[in-house]
């Protein structure tokens, strides 16, 4: 039996978000909450929650259609709806009596084998099920989501010895495959793993910053990038969480943890923070936090001076300790400055605390590392960091300072926490032995393949890997995975190679973005030195290579995750099929930099919409649709949206779990390879000049309304020239190559335009589009 229907009880921010993610997975979900006192609409809370979900940014839904999978109701009238649910998630207030009362109601209405879970972050599982029947307890676990549930990949799972193996597998599989989560099994201890360590770390970083007399920018610069902490830094993260929440979290940690826990030593009152909370400076949701944007001063970025408690302009920090240390963490920790001492104090406390959690919050180091990577977006987990620092050095420094050395650190003396043995990753255990780390079934990662293999082909911007069973994987390796001449060349070579020796090709990588498009820096430089011939050649080479993928005698599966923009979207449009990670953001964004898609993007997008039998007849509707998408640089905000935009076609797949993407793409490629025939080239019937006039009128009216800028009009005009076929009549049939020529010619017109060049430059230097 699998989970086919889910209920979420409690429609607060977390509950609603969880319901949305279940719906994103295509699973029907019931969302219930209380009946508000004196309400005329007894479902107001749950209904309001869904309405709010639809307006929230970043969007909790992957597509508006997903909202239809949610049935709303209340816990007085609609408990009947639980009857056919396979999993019921409780996300109500953190009050034991409320929860337990609810469990009794749930137990009365659920089907016997339905799993019940709580999203509690503070109440132990043992306490929750105390007094509940054995059958209920057998099906009860804690599923601890992180906010926002769509985007945070961590799911902490707490089980008990009462659970059957089947229950654990069922819930794990659903959260993994369907919700796309990294499931980390935790022990039934306060704060589980991520918050236990995370809260201690945040608290230490803040308290120590005060004690060392540092400013927030200094602290964030020191323990941010060098330790692989996200850009927000500690103080930015606290602003995001909400300063007012911290005392509550700290208090609940303090009450739950034994008096010997080092957390108590760091849980000190912070008068400045207390004052901030009192005055409404609670972070981003309040009047400001440690950082704020001062709108009265023209969106001036300000920071709170930790010494005076006043806001002042944010400083760009260059900390000598960080610069001098480079990548050497030991140098940072031993830097003879307040900065170096701060770095060491925070790292020493955090990493020692993490080490002490082995055997307490988790049985193994892997869970702790994974929880911090997925839940707090650390680049390296604490044990990976310790390997970078050097265990022996760290331990000797602890001993020098007379600190207690936790058992796992004792066991690690003279060793590393992770090692590669016969091409397999292994992790150290408390006993001092290593266990081999096995991926779950259906997980295939290039990172693992790289442990034992050398690339089949490789140049400065891309590598090709043999991922087994006759399938090759093309990986971008350039800076930010940007597309350049080297990638185009290697694509051509790869097509030749697959044709001679392999069955199929997958285009995939493990960067945070599939690719943000062509290397604009190089392109702009070439344009600035008037290297027009070279630019036109590169456009032609790209067209040739992408066409080569499309008509190759073997299937090519594009497997994006993250952003696939511009030339990255174009490469996907040329693949035989797409297997997209659910969190893929795909679109033709060229107009944002004053250009148009010229690596076959226009012609492929048109072909997709012309093939759509649901569109009204005639050449114009599909042209108008594609024109709208490209001229507004529309990006699909999920794979589901990409399907609505027809970037994904019938037969293209979506993988919810990032780690399963390559496996799914490879499976698809192999299936297609069974009797693969390349597509027949499309022909186009385009509206010509009259169609162009219609598009021009639309753009002009946007310009009049102030929605299109001066240069938007110019770029749209060039785009219209391509999409309407230029100087053609209705009855002309245009070939694919004719469209490629139109793309190329018109691209060259725009790339020479100083206003387009200004857009490219602005994008490169600020990361934002120029609205000229």
């Amino acid at each position: 039996m699998t989970i086919n229907k889910v209920a979420v009880i409690g429609a607060g921010v977390m509950g609603a978000g969880i319901a949305a993610q279940v719906a994103n997975a295509g699973t029907p979900v019931v969302l219930l909450d209380i009946v508000p006192a004196g309400a005329t609409n007894r479902n107001a809370v749950a209904e309001g929650a869904v309405a709010k979900l639809l307006k929230t940014e970043p969007a909790p839904f992957m597509s508006k259609a997903a909202a239809k999978l949610i049935t709303t109701g209340n816990i007085e009238d609609h408990l009947e709806l639980l009857r056919d649910c396979d999993w019921i998630v409780e996300v109500v207030v953190e009050k034991l009596e409320v929860k337990q009362a609810l469990y009794k109601k749930i137990d009365a209405h659920k089907k016997p084998d339905a799993i019940v879970s709580s999203n509690t972050s503070t109440i132990p599982l043992a306490t929750l099920i105390a007094g509940m029947p054995q059958e209920f307890a057998e099906k009860f676990v804690i599923t601890h989501f992180f906010n926002p549930p769509r985007y945070m990949r961590l799911l902490e799972l707490v089980t008990s010895d009462k659970n059957s193996a089947d229950t654990v597998k069922k819930i794990t599989d659903f959260c993994d495959y369907k919700l796309g989560k990294g499931v980390v099994v935790c022990k039934d201890r306060p704060g589980f793993i991520a918050n236990r360590l995370g809260v201690y770390w945040l608290q230490s970083a803040v308290v120590l910053a005060f004690e060392h007399g540092l400013q927030v920018e200094e602290a964030d610069a020191i323990i941010g990038k060098p330790l692989g902490i996200p850009k927000t830094g500690v103080f930015g993260l606290l602003d995001l969480i909400g300063l007012d929440l911290m005392p509550h979290i700290n208090a609940s940690m303090a009450s739950a943890l034994p008096s010997t826990d080092p957390f108590h030593g760091m849980n000190k009152p912070l008068p400045l923070v207390e004052r901030m909370i009192r005055d409404g400076y609670t972070g981003r949701k309040g009047k400001g936090g440690f950082y704020r944007l001062n709108r009265e001063k023209g969106k001036l970025k300000e920071a709170l001076d930790l010494q005076t408690g006043d806001y002042r302009a944010q400083k760009r920090m260059r900390v000598d300790a960080v610069t001098d240390a480079g990548r050497d963490l030991k140098k940072l920790f031993t830097h003879d400055s307040e900065h170096g001492r701060y770095a060491w104090d925070v790292a020493r406390k955090t990493l020692t605390y993490a080490a002490a959690l082995v055997g307490d919050a988790a049985d193994d180091i892997v869970s702790i590392d994974e929880a911090m990577r997925l839940g707090y977006a650390w680049k390296w987990g604490p044990f990976e960091l310790l390997d970078k620092i050097g265990v022996d050095w760290f331990v000797s420094k602890l001993e020098e300072a007379g600190c207690l050395v936790p058992p796992i650190l004792q066991a690690a003396r003279g060793k590393t926490f992770y090692r590669i043995e016969n091409g397999k990753r292994q992790a150290l255990t408390l006993s001092g032995d290593y266990v081999t780390l096995e991926r779950r079934e259906g997980v295939l990662l290039l990172a693992d393949i790289k442990l034992t293999q050398k690339p089949v082909l490789k140049n400065g911007s891309a590598s090709v890997w043999d991922i087994g069973d006759g399938v090759l994987c093309f990986e971008f390796t350039s800076i930010m995975n940007s597309l350049d001449a080297d990638i185009v060349m290697l694509l051509n070579q790869t097509v030749q190679l697959v044709q001679s020796k392999y069955k199929a090709l997958v285009i995939y990588n493990e960067g945070s973005n599939f690719t943000v498009g062509a290397n604009l820096g190089l392109a702009l430089f070439a344009a600035n030195i008037a290297a027009w011939t070279e630019i036109e050649q590169l456009v032609g080479l790209g067209q040739f290579a992408y066409k080569g993928l499309k008509y190759a005698p073997f299937p090519v599966v594009g497997a994006p995750s993250g952003m696939a923009l511009g030339g990255g979207c174009e490469i996907l449009l040329h693949c035989s099929a797409i297997q997209a990670h659910a969190e893929s953001y795909i679109g033709l964004v060229e107009v944002g930099v004053g250009l148009i898609p010229a690596w076959g993007g226009c012609k492929e997008f048109l072909a997709r919409w012309q093939a759509n039998t649901k569109m009204p007849k005639g050449p114009m509707p599909s042209v108008a649709q594609v024109f709208e998408y490209i001229s507004t640089a529309r990006v699909a905000k999920s794979a589901a949206e990409a399907r609505e935009m027809m970037i994904l076609r019938d037969g293209d797949g979506i993988t919810m779990n990032r780690d399963r993407l390559l496996f799914d793409a490879k499976a698809k490629a192999l299936k297609m390879a069974e009797n693969y025939k390349p597509p027949a080239p499309p022909t186009y019937r385009l509206p010509g000049l009259s169609g162009k006039l219609a598009l021009k009128m639309a753009v002009d009216s946007f310009a009049k309304m102030g929605k299109a800028t001066k240069h938007d009009v110019v770029v749209s005009d060039v785009l219209a020239d391509i999409l309407t076929g230029g100087d053609v009549e209705y009855f002309d049939e245009l070939s694919e190559d004719k469209l490629l020529e139109l793309e190329r010619k018109n691209f060259m017109r725009l790339v020479r335009n100083p206003d387009s060049m200004a857009r490219v430059e602005h994008m490169l230097e600020t990361g934002k589009p120029l609205r000229n």
């Binding site: 820096g521 702009l524 430089f525 070439a526 600035n528 030195i529 008037a530 290297a531 060049m757 430059e761």
Partner: protein, 592 residues
């Protein structure tokens, strides 16, 4: 002794016919400077340079400056010449009217500067440095400082200096030791030693205003902690006249290879009272503003010296009778033919001339852009002009001064043994020209500035200001048969420059040493190609008049010579550049 006649015809040609000076007179503030006014200024400038400054050049070199007890005396006649120069209003030519200046376009001023350098480079150092100090103060000084110092710097009663170099640091100013301690009254006390200070001490003016780079104790490390200070030799009294003697003294003067009449001083600052110019720790920015204009000025020095050497060489080649032409006697009535009949002598003279006239046109293009940057009402036009000037500044500094030295050297060669002896003044030009390749950032540094900073700036946006005009010009004229001999070679050289640029940009991104190894050759390739652009445009201007006017006929022939005999260097340079820096860097330090 070489005589000097200002090349007024060619100057006007470059300014009016090639660069389109008249555009500038449409800019607000420049309306009054029509051709008549400009012509009169150039004529007068030529007069003082030819009649007053040039006659002192050789004697000044022979006598040098005198140092005694902290006092420096300039060579005989300099003080009188300076008085004439100042009274003629030449120090105020390009200064703001608000402070008593004449507000003349930079384009015109640059031609005057060329004449001064050609006539007497040593003399030119004194007003030249004053103008640099004027610019820094004008751009960054407080209103109070400007009001009390600028009028005197403009009218030339006071002079100025730029004090950067210290005994242990020249290029690397981050190591600077001179310190400036803040005082309660808002002033500073400056202490330290500066060396190589041109015009640091002399007897031409009643006061000397030093602009000094120094560090405020406790500030940031390196160049980020450098600030700029104004330190007068005499502190002005209540009436603005030189008052109390300040704690700055000349310790000695250098004995140099050339520009001997220019005093090059060791300056000791001992608790000298100074005033902050601009913001604390932002001294490098102010210094670079000053240095960028100074670098263009140094380029013009190279040009002026080349012109002087050319004029001397031509006169001698026509007068010197020696042997016969290879094809038989050209002047059988004379005892021998003048050496100008020889192809190799002609090669030398034309080499000088083609470089000089090309550089003059390029100097004018650049000066016009500075004028546009200063005066144009449209910010987009100003930005474009500024991009261009930023890009070509290192090219003008290094390429022009290399050319200046080469041309001066050719001058000696044409004279033979008579050039090598002192009496004829040709070897002085070589010695004088040598410093221009060194100061204001050695030419190697200019190459690094070009490939390391200017090329990459805003993904190559600065490059656009040179590459697009050339590309468009070649595109527009490639079908023009009359211009084929000029546009063809220009297109070829431009292709090489593009190729080299791509190569340097790519290689440099991966390995900075690669860009460093290519820098000097790349800068020359850049300079030669831009000069080819100038020559193609000059050929275009002169071709229609070549039959009717010997001036234009000579222009077209010089353009041909440039394309045929000088521009082909670009082929070798491209090969050198793409060969890369591997071998250079592979050489073990111990093996040198």
């Amino acid at each position: 002794m070489p005589a000097y006649k200002a090349p007024l015809r060619d100057m006007r040609y470059a300014l009016y016919d090639v660069i389109g000076y008249d555009d500038l007179t449409k800019l607000p503030g420049y309306e009054d400077f029509d051709r008549d006014t400009v012509d009169a200024v150039l004529d007068e400038a030529a007069k003082i340079c030819e009649e007053v400054l040039q006659p002192l050049n050789h004697s000044g070199d022979a006598e040098g400056c005198h140092y005694e007890n902290g006092v420096v005396r300039t060579p005989k006649g300099f003080k009188e010449a300076y008085t004439l120069f100042r009274d003629g209003g030449w120090t105020s030519l390009a200064c703001a009217p608000q402070y008593g200046g004449q507000g003349m376009p930079v384009s015109v001023n640059a031609l005057v500067e060329e004449m001064i350098c050609a006539a007497n480079m040593s003399f030119g150092m004194y007003p030249g440095l004053t103008h640099g100090a004027y610019k820094a103060l004008h751009a960054f000084g407080s209103k109070e400082l400007q009001d009390s110092y600028l009028p005197k710097l403009v009218d030339g009663t006071w002079s100025g200096t730029m004090c950067m170099t210290e005994p242990h640091c020249g290029t690397d100013l981050g190591q600077m030791r001179t310190k400036a301690v803040p005082q309660e009254d808002g002033s500073y006390r400056v202490t330290g030693t500066k060396i190589f200070i041109s015009a640091g001490e002399h007897d031409l003016t009643e006061n000397i205003i030093h602009l000094v780079l120094a560090k405020i104790p406790g500030g940031p490390k390196g160049t980020k902690g450098v600030s700029l200070f104004l330190v007068p030799k005499f502190l002005p009294d209540a009436n603005g006249n030189p008052g109390e003697r300040n704690g700055v003294r000349c310790g000695s003067i250098e004995h140099k290879m050339g520009i001997k009449a220019s005093s090059t001083c060791v300056m000791n600052f001992d608790d000298a009272k100074g005033f902050l110019v601009g913001e604390e720790h932002k001294g490098m920015k102010a210094m670079f503003t000053m240095m960028n204009t100074a670098r263009l000025g140094v380029g013009v020095q190279g040009l002026g010296l080349a012109e002087a050497a050319y004029q001397g060489a031509v006169t001698y080649a026509k007068d010197r009778l020696q042997g016969r032409a290879l094809s038989g006697a050209k002047f059988p009535e004379k005892a021998a033919d003048p050496i100008i009949v020889h192809p190799d002598v002609r090669r030398m003279l034309l080499t000088q001339r083609a470089y000089i006239e090309g550089c003059r046109a390029l100097a004018m293009w650049t000066a016009k852009c500075i004028d546009i940057y200063r005066m144009h009402p449209d910010p987009a036009e100003r930005e474009k002009a500024d991009d261009y000037v930023a890009l070509v500044t290192p090219v003008i500094k290094a390429f022009f001064t290399d050319i200046g030295f080469e041309a001066a050297n050719i001058g000696v060669q044409v004279f033979g043994g008579h050039g090598y002896i002192r009496d004829n003044g040709m070897e002085q030009l070589v010695r004088d020209a040598r410093i221009a390749q060194i100061y204001e950032g050695a030419n190697g540094i200019q190459g690094l500035d070009l490939v390391g900073r200017k090329m990459a700036m805003h993904a190559g946006r600065y490059m656009r200001t040179v590459f697009h005009p050339i590309s468009e010009y070649v595109e527009a004229n490639k079908a023009n048969a009359a211009l084929a001999d000029f546009v063809g070679p220009l297109g070829k050289a431009f292709g090489r420059l593009q190729q080299a640029t791509m190569h340097v940009a790519r290689a440099g991104m991966a390995r900075p040493d690669e860009a460093g190894a290519a820098a000097t050759d790349y800068l020359r390739l850049f300079g030669l190609t831009v000069l080819a652009f100038m020559w193609a445009r000059m050929a275009e201007v002169s071709l229609p008049q070549a039959d009717s006017d010997p001036f234009h006929k000579a222009k077209v022939l010089t353009a041909r010579f440039y394309m045929e005999r000088l521009l082909p260097q670009t082929g070798a340079l491209l090969a050198t550049i793409t060969a890369g820096g591997k071998t250079i860097m592979a050489f073990e330090e111990a093996a040198f």
